[in-house]
Every structure is written in structure tokens, then in C-alpha cells.
Subunit: 477 residues, 2 copies
């Protein structure tokens, strides 16, 4: 609920809230028969005293707008002023059907807390902080960007000049040879993953990804009815031989890997293992989906070549993204693979949304070709390195032996093992009370007692305080 | 295939094509085991003589890059230079699985022809012509647009200031009362329809829409496994009582209507019928999905109030779009409905693409609030009216009694009955030969012998010639 009470208005709070709900009912946004939030919950959402809400609900009942029943809450009247004494759509029945599972409740809870907190410490959101986005440069990119002659429907794979730029970018930054017709521009990596699971896999198919993995936090894999098997990660990523044994047991149909600065562990799959993974994939005829959002965010002198750069047989589907290196709300990613696959996915994407808006494509096209882009990357890497170092110091000083972690050489996150028995849910709640958000390990398919801390979303000067608050929360359970 | 031969280069055509295919094979874009297009088809796509392709394929075979088998075509060698004597992914097996049906072959065929034709007459693409998009104004909108402080992930329902603008726009243009929290910004109307079918309906559910309807041309309804029933359209839209009888027989779960300047017939559902539809919907508890992309493109003095504007019980889900009034590649639409529904769909959309890019939202937000927007609408309406009149004259003069049609009072299309026996597929082919594209009635779930002509995508001076070419094609079958 975005609406807020206006504490400076002359109108009493209870009356503001009454009118707000009355309006929602009149507009059909709270339809007849729907349930209003409980008094306690609404009071919390609007940050008012619970008695204020009790007063509002009493008034709503008195005016016949709602009905209150013991044990079943406050319901919008189905006899709205006697005007509509008929049945209405039972929306609940519709909302609970369909083929999407709702987002993991713990993640929803953390995201909602992030929205509510005004001066919280957010180590949970896996993205850059506002000051790291190249906002001014993007704005000026756009004025320079050449507008196409025709703003009609675009090519199903995306704007051709931008796909050509992406092909050149893949060559110069990642040593991958490709051409525009094998590139599908997507709404971030998320849409690429969605298309792959929807179009190339069927319910019941077995797939594998790293354990732990951010993939466990995406309900889309479960929504599609896939059977998921984990590949344990050690200090150098997964063990390729595990793919062979999993395949023998479960007939794995696809392997999803995030080989460089893996989310959440930060590990890098060694070159030797990358080549071995490719060999096994080719041998068994199992495609590899390589998700590569972080590799430009490296603190090392050397860069890691994607598995795709070794791939001569078209077995690797490569996913790139500008969300972590430019801006998450730009929503630009891409998928590179064999043409038959790209054509199929582009056709399905037309059915979903009729393709991506041309505007973020024009902006990205201008920016990643400009001399501003390498400058931006350099500043970004340095700032992330400073924040990582700050977090490492804070973890060592404040939490010391209470946690174990490996120092990541790139990316946005530090993965910590907590050296005491904790219940993830409880620790999250204690954190929220203490204005500190983090992602618990259970979200990534791991047992309780791990945490992912993102050092990219907080300014350096706040990191020490954030870790202190986490330590506080931890000490209280 | 976007690649084209360069007829001005010194390099012979066959060698250009050879190198192009060799590159694709080397990059894994044509993976080992995949089929190349037939000689005939590739020759057509590249607009070269078939013997050139025969020559290329002979060379490819001689170098061991492809294998040719009688009856099964030309296949990329699985033994690429003997380097990879192993199995590779059988992409065909993957591409034919999944939960999306491919787009209707006839529509694909027409779209591909549209891309190929350089000086064709396009009465098929249901969108504005390049000169009608307010390109320069959009470009300057963006420089004025206020950038948000944080380019991090946006609210799942879309950028809040833009949702507030949409709520105000719904009030001023469509007499609909709503608030930002009941608005979900989507990638055009297409994504709204996709979300509704995926999240609120299940395979086997019965739904109804107009017959004929553009909905028949969208494979997403079939992909979801829905049972589809038609509501016949007369001069004043559907007959509301048909919903009751369909419901009795098939337990209809949702009704999709395009009440104003319906696509393809151009009819307007009368106010009396709108109210009756709403009454029946409320009585039976069946939600109405009201798709309203054309109502601002009116040639009448009066405007038609959407069904949603009479809806007090939240039974109508309203879909708006800027694709037909601003630009199709902007990809901005929205859905308005009860909050529980909007929340559910916003959550599902996060799983699909993590939300819409902020940039088209900033542009649309600036533009539809500006004084430029009503000016643009006025010019657009006048120009569309002129084109409609031009087409009416051409139909009367050139085709005369060979077709019947009703004059539409708004929108982009004229729907014609052809007064002779025709095979749609054959007429489309004759049209393509004659450089004229149109949409045959069978695409909209109707029998052979109807055509939808879009007068918006062609400049006025080309319309007469387009209808002549259609008449030519018709006379040849």
C-alpha cells in the first residue's frame, strides 16, 4: 500500500483513512466481498495507532460499507448501499489459480520490509546503490542516441543496431564470436531464464544448478514443475563430474551455471573445470545455460573467459545483462545461442509482451559503445572493491569468529557461514527490528545458518554500522 | 535472416554466402547436426539464383562442413573437421517442447513477407505509419523528463509517478475512477493479456470473445489450453444475452471484449449493451476483460464510455495501451482492476521479466501530461480520418460490388466481406506476388472470404494503388 496518511493535514487521521478506504470501495479496487487487512496489519502498514483503525472500521461498518464477522475479519459489503444485491466475481478463486507460484514468502517479506524502511541498512537487495548508477551519462546518451525512422513494432529479437553492438561487445569484453542474428535482447537475465524454462523444458524435466544458487530464490523454476538437483560448490565452483553422475541418475536436461563470482558464494569456476564442463555437456548432449552478470565487476588483473568462449558446437546458451554494471531499472539483458533456439524464443516472447521497448535499447546502445562506458566500469570496480574491503574489515572486527567467509574477487556479495545454530526466519525478523536486511542462506537452497551480504547497495560509510546491527540481531537469538 | 549479400562487392556472391555459413557453423549458431534451409528457400531469402546456393552447398560439403542426404536435406556435419567426434545437443528436441505454441503459420508468413518487401503496400500491420509517430516530441520529452534519484529495481506494478499519471488520464479521458495502486504498467496490451491468461485461468477453462476477434490471432490463448467460444458481432457489437447462454452450456470463466472500434470489425458496442454486459457479468460473477486501445482514435463528436466506467463492483479488468495512439515500439500498456488481482499479476510479472524498464515509463509520463499530447491526438485523428475516407473511395471505385463493408467511425481498420468464393491462403499468396499485404479473415476465427485492411500504416497517396493491387490479386484467383 503506497498511500500514506498526511500528518500535517487538518483532517483527522481516522477520517483520512476512512475516505481512502471508501474511495477504494467505490472504485471497485476493493470489490464487494473482498477482505480488508486486519486492524493490526493496516495499523502497521500506515504506521498509525491500532485504535485509529478500530475507529475507522467501526465507521465503515456504521455506513454499511463493510461487514465484520468474528473470526473472519472485515469484508467489503456485498450489498453496497443496496445498489448491487447481486453476486460478484469471486476474485479469490481466480487469484489462487493459474500457473505461477507466488514468490517465496520470506523473500516477499524482506522486499516489503525494504520498501517500508526509510533509513534501514539494506544488505539484501542484490544491486548497486543509487550513486553508482551512471544516471547523468544515460540521460545525455539519450539525447545523442539516433532515433530510428520508424517507431513501429521492432524485430522480435530486438533492435538490429543494438544487437550488432552486443555482438561486438561480446567479442571485445568476453572473447565470444557471435552475430546479431544469434542475439535475443531480453528484459534482463530474468526474462532469458523465463523463456528458457517455458520454451525448452517441460514439467517433470530434471535440471541442475549450483547449490547454493540464486536460482533457488526464483519461483519460476518451481512454477514450471521442473525437478531441481544441486551441484555442490567448493572453493573453485562445481565439480564437473557431478553432472555426469546426476545425469546417470536423473537424466538431466539442462544445467544452469553462474561460473564467475557466483551468486551467492562469489566463487569462480576454474578454466580447467570450464573446459571439462563443456566436454561433458558435448559428450552427453546436455545444454549449459551460462549466466554471466558479474564478470565485468572484477577486482582481479585477469579476466575470466566465459564457458561460451570455448564452445564450438553451440551447446552453451549465454546470458548477459547490464543490470549489475549499468542500472537494474534499465532492464537490458541478452541471450546468445543457436539460431533455431533464438528464433523459437523470440517467437514465444512476442506472445508474452510483443518485444522490448526500443528506448532502453537505444540508451544502452549509445552508452556501451561510448568512451564513457569503460570509464564508468573503472570507477565502479574501484568503489565496489572499497566497499568489499570495508565489509571484510567490519566482519573481522565485529563478528570475528562468529562467521566464516571467503573473500570474493569480484561481484556484489559476500557469503558467510554463521558459526552458531540459528533459525533463518527468526534472524531475519530480529534484523528487521534492528533496521538491517540481509538474505538468509535458506533462500538459496541451503540449510539455515548462512547469510548473503551485498556490499554494493550501501555506501561505504554505512557498512560498519550495518554489520554492527547484524551482530546485534544475531546476539539476540 | 537479416544478413544480405553485397551486390557491389568484388567478392562473388557464392563466396560471400559460403563464408557467411562457414562463420555461423564456427560460432555454434548453426550447431553440428542442425539442418540448413533448403536450396530453394535460402535462394528466396537471400534473393539470389538457386544455382548459386547449389554451388555454395557443394563447396560446404567438399570442405566437410555439411553432410547432404537425399530426402533429409543439408545438415551441419557432426564431425566438424574431426575436432568434435562426440554427441551434441539435439536442439530440435528442445525447440519442439515447452509450453508456447508457435505463432499461426499464416501470420508468420505475412510478417516475414512484410519484412522482405522493400516497396510493398502494407495493409496488414495493425499500427500507425512511421510519419504518424510523434518521434521528435518523444525525443524532447525525454530530455525534459525528470530522472528518479535511484535507477534501482522499480516497484513491481511500475514507476509510481507514471501510475499516478495513468490514474489521472483514465479519469480525464475515460471517466474511470482509479488510484495508482490499482494500476499495473505492462509491456503493451499483449503482456496484460498474457498475465491474465497465465495467472487467472487454468488449462481447460472456457472463455469467450467476439467472433471475429484479433484474439484468435494470438496463439497465447491456445497455448494456455483454454477452450474458446465466440460471441457473434452484429452492427452494434455482441449480443449480451449470448454470454448467458454460453455460460449455461460451458461455464465461461472470463469474457474478453474490445467494445470500441473492435478489431477487426470496427463496430462499437452500444451503451445499452455495455450496461447489460456489466449486469450479466455481475449476476453470474464472470469477470469482463475490456481491451480499449482505439477509443481515443475516434472520428465521432461523442466519446464512448468504457464498460469499466460503469463498474462499481470491480468486475471489469480494463486494458489500456499507448501502442496505437503514441508508438508501438514504446511498449506501454496498463491493466486496471481490483488490488488483489493487480498484486498477484505484478508478482507473476516479476518472475517473467522483473518489471518494465523505467525509460519508456518516464517518456510516456512526460508526454501524456504535456500539452503536446492533445495536439498530437488531434492531428492523428484527422490524418486517420483522411486515410479512412481515401480507402472508402478506393474500395467503392475499384472493388465496388466485389466487397461489402461498414464504414468504421474510429480505429485503424476496415473489415470487408469478399463477394466471391476465395481461399484465404491463395489470396494472401497472390497478394504477396503483387506486393500487397492484408490480413485474411481466417486469422480472426472467421470463415474464408473476409479481409482486414489497415488504413493507418500506409500514406494516403498509396492507398488507391494498394486497393488496385488487391483487386488485381483477387481477379487472378
Amino acid at each position: 500500500m503506497e498511500w500514506k496518511v498526511n500528518r500535517e493535514a487538518d483532517k483527522p487521521l481516522y477520517q483520512q483513512i476512512f475516505e481512502f478506504i471508501e474511495e477504494k470501495i467505490a472504485y471497485g479496487e476493493f470489490p464487494p466481498g473482498s477482505l480488508l487487512p486486519s486492524e493490526r496489519k493496516l495499523a502497521e502498514q500506515l504506521n498509525v495507532n491500532r485504535m485509529t483503525i478500530v475507529h475507522v472500521y467501526d465507521e465503515l461498518q456504521a455506513s454499511g460499507l463493510v461487514q465484520r464477522k468474528k473470526g473472519s475479519g472485515t469484508q467489503v459489503s456485498t450489498h453496497k448501499w443496496g445498489v448491487l444485491p447481486k453476486g460478484v466475481t469471486n476474485w479469490r478463486k481466480y487469484v489462487e489459480g493459474g500457473s505461477f507460484l507466488p514468490t517465496y514468502p520470506l523473500i516477499r517479506h524482506i522486499r516489503e520490509a525494504a520498501k517500508r524502511m526509510e533509513n534501514g541498512f539494506d544488505l539484501a537487495s542484490g544491486e548497486l546503490s543509487a550513486d553508482l548508477f551512471p544516471t547523468r551519462i544515460l540521460q545525455s546518451s539519450f539525447t545523442k542516441a539516433l532515433f530510428p525512422d520508424d517507431l513501429g513494432y521492432e524485430h522480435p529479437q530486438g533492435h538490429l543496431p543494438f544487437r550488432e553492438t552486443v555482438a561486438a561487445y561480446m567479442k571485445s569484453y568476453h572473447h565470444i564470436d557471435t552475430t546479431s542474428s544469434s542475439v535475443l535482447i531480453t528484459s534482463g537475465a530474468q526474462q532469458a531464464l523465463y523463456l528458457l524454462t517455458q520454451c525448452l523444458l517441460s514439467p517433470g524435466d530434471a535440471i541442475a544448478f549450483e547449490a547454493p544458487s540464486y536460482c533457488y530464490s526464483l519461483p519460476l523454476f518451481q512454477s514450471t514443475g521442473l525437478r531441481i538437483f544441486g551441484l555442490q560448490v567448493d572453493a573453485h565452483g562445481i565439480n564437473p563430474d557431478d553432472i555426469v553422475s546426476l545425469h546417470r541418475k536423473h537424466q538431466i536436461r539442462m544445467v544452469f551455471l553462474n561460473p564467475t563470482y557466483q551468486n551467492p558464494t562469489g566463487t569462480v569456476l576454474t578454466d580447467k573445470r570450464r573446459k571439462k564442463v563443456l566436454e561433458i555437456s558435448t559428450e552427453l548432449g546436455i545444454p549449459i545455460v551460462e549466466d554471466d552478470p558479474f564478470s565485468l565487476l572484477s577486482f582481479e588483473d585477469k579476466s575470466h573467459s566465459p564457458i561460451k568462449s570455448f564452445d564450438e558446437s553451440g551447446n552453451v546458451l549465454y546470458i548477459g545483462s547490464l543490470s549489475k554494471v549499468v542500472a537494474s531499472s534499465l532492464r537490458i539483458g541478452w541471450l546468445i545461442g543457436p539460431q533455431s533456439v533464438i528464433n523459437r524464443l523470440a517467437d514465444a516472447r512476442q506472445q508474452m509482451d510483443f518485444g522490448l521497448s526500443i528506448f532502453p535499447q537505444l540508451i544502452a546502445n549509445q552508452f556501451i559503445q561510448s568512451t564513457e562506458f569503460p570509464k564508468h566500469l573503472k570507477i565502479l570496480r574501484q568503489e565496489l572493491l572499497d566497499r568489499r574491503n570495508e565489509m571484510i574489515s567490519a566482519l573481522q572486527e565485529i563478528l570475528d569468529e562468529k562467521v566464516d567467509f571467503t573473500v570474493p574477487n569480484g561481484g556484489l556479495h559476500i557469503w558467510c557461514k554463521i558459526n552458531q545454530n540459528v533459525d533463518d526466519q527468526q534472524l531475519v525478523e530480529e534484523g528487521i527490528k534492528n533496521n538491517i536486511l540481509f538474505m538468509p542462506g535458506s533462500v538459496y537452497g541451503f540449510p539455515n545458518g548462512y547469510a548473503r551480504f551485498t556490499y554494493a547497495r550501501l555506501k561505504r560509510e554505512s557498512i560498519n554500522e550495518a554489520i554492527s546491527r547484524f551482530a546485534d540481531a544475531l546476539s539476540r537469538i
